[in-house]
Symmetry: C2
Subunit: 120 residues, 2 copies
DNA sequence: GGTTAAGTTAACTAAATGGTTAACTATCAA
DNA sequence: TTGATAGTTAACCATTTAGTTAACTTAACC
């Protein structure tokens, strides 16, 4: 069995993760799973939509590598995959770091009396 | 003038931010902006798509609150809004924290000989 | 004023999303 | 074996997305 992390290119996986989190229903599911594993029907309970709809959301989360599905008798146990969360978080952090560094160097330039104006 | 943060509900804004980052072109633009502000045409340069396409991506990033657009003569200067990045990052972090806490309490339960099986 | 440069808006298209209902599969229980 | 439970798959629909080309606006330049 191959995991999403193995088969997908990093960039492609990031797209799937961020897109998945772009939907409020799926974010709710992820928050719920952050508290601990749960079955599909338990996850579906809070929502007014049909089970197939929730099922599709969960499949999408799985394809994105955000949840892991495991057969437990006739139900399926969903577990949050922290790795995917961490990867997305790292990407955001790297952007923030660059940005902060830029501000720092900007401040230095200003102190030198230099006028920075971002070209290519 | 009202900013996206003021007019949008937090949940709705998170949706826009994550969806925006779900696209590789827009992530590229964000990474570029992390190095410093840039005009629309400069941002468009690396891509093989037309200017209107890039323009729409940038508008979307603006609606999501990820970039700030400012008129500079006949061109527009785009700046990354770190607040939006931080908000998304915080959401992810909160999930990770819960998850870690859950693992901790799971470990405690196991030490007590208790069998935890995630119900509602 | 006329032209070029920078960018947006409009109108269109193909594909993906998010939902529905209906039918199906698989497991547990009587 | 019959039936209920848990969930997926299929077929469909409306809306959104990501791109295109063509036309428009606005500011700088001669």
């Amino acid at each position: 069995m191959t995991t999403a992390t193995e088969t997908l290119q990093g960039d492609e996986e990031l797209s799937l993760v961020f897109s998945a989190l772009g939907n409020p229903t799926r974010r709710s599911i992820v928050r719920r799973l952050a508290l601990g594993p749960a079955t599909v029907s338990v996850l579906a309970e809070p929502f007014r939509m049909t089970l197939p709809a929730v099922s599709k959301h969960i499949s999408l989360l799985e394809r994105a590598g955000l949840v892991h599905l495991e057969r437990r008798g006739r139900s399926r146990l969903c577990t949050l995959r922290a790795e995917a969360i961490v990867e997305a978080e790292s990407w955001l952090e790297s952007c923030r770091v660059y940005w902060t560094d830029t501000l720092d160097s900007l401040a230095r330039h200003l102190e030198d009396g230099d006028a920075p104006q971002g070209g290519s």
